[in-house]
Symmetry: C2
Subunit: 204 residues, 2 copies
Amino acid sequence: MTEVVRVLLADDEHLIRGALAALLSLEDDLVVVAEAASGPEALAMARAHAPDVAVLDLQMPGADGVKVATSLRTELPGCQVLIVTGHGRPGHLKRALAAGVRGFVPKTVSAQRLAELIRTVHAGNRYVDPELAADAISAGDSPLTAREAEVLELAADGAPVAEIAERAALAEGTVRNYLSSAVTKLGAENRHAAVRLARERGWV
Amino acid sequence: MTEVVRVLLADDEHLIRGALAALLSLEDDLVVVAEAASGPEALAMARAHAPDVAVLDLQMPGADGVKVATSLRTELPGCQVLIVTGHGRPGHLKRALAAGVRGFVPKTVSAQRLAELIRTVHAGNRYVDPELAADAISAGDSPLTAREAEVLELAADGAPVAEIAERAALAEGTVRNYLSSAVTKLGAENRHAAVRLARERGWV
DNA sequence: TCGAGTGTCTGACATTTGTCATGCCCGGCG
DNA sequence: CGCCGGGCATGACAAATGTCAGACACTCGA
């Protein structure tokens, strides 16, 4: 095929972004048309250059890769999104797929493999790293109800119950109840351990 | 100068390591003689190839960059160490300098700049990213006493006071006292926030 | 329609945590 | 020597947290 794939590269680590751009440029059928160091910048660049494929880091300042992907989905339906992540957590994978992301891989893949994957998603196919997929499946669905998750999130930064109650417009007893319920469901020792677990599994 | 600098590259993210190797090879006076994806592997590679400069990621499986640097210091005194980090925290910087590391920079630097820094540390000079240095200085020394730090560390994973008391062979009241003291000194809301703060500043 | 099951919400009670006043020991200093 | 000052350690008390039983609304099948 003689078609050229136009790629947007977004990663806050200049070292990686530059190196990656150089390596991908070695592929005849790939051309990096834009680079970005943050979520909002990635969006702006995408609007300006309308790339075929956007390669997004999961962790970026401003808005993370999934949020950017969500916006791109509506603004540029023709642009396929491939997310790369340093230390992937299952929950993000689920969010990412829900946002219409076509590919999700850890940064442990080789540049050669990444180039292949860019072609894969450009062709309209999906690819998810098998290990990350296995993690996501073993983590399963969140056992938390909507309120439980909401309250747990508010408790994330160690705020006292009174503050959580005020922000959620609930009685303190109710907040304690939800926290207790969430802690039990997650099999955690206390609310803080529960927050950690929920974070790891992408349930908050 | 016609001398060639022999470089060891260690990073668990294959994508970055490969890309970096390619970019650094473009420099005439730099040659990547070995790559590693983990702490122990980095040590083994260093022993086998005796590089002039070791470029180590801070976060790696097995042993982190600082631990590797400590070992290298005694085994290969002629090998200078340059640490790169994704999201640098002041405490690590202090540990790194104590371990004899010559350079410490975030991954937001460009490859060009990294090449310069490899030459800098090879020449025996030091370089620390100004922003990271400022963070470390503003963080200052730990105000915690030995016992306070010990108890705070035991409290890190959300264990209840009774368990901490048992593991530290202290009365529960004493444990509460140290935690309270640590929380006050750190200006935190509660023990968990204190753990976070101490972690960020490298005090535990 | 009506009963079972589930989610939401609350207050009362037991447990855990945070704070305070206090005593002990040790090293430095007048 | 005698007397601080600081770190270590403790128990008592107040405040926050975790646990429990139960009320209400809503959905889904029988």
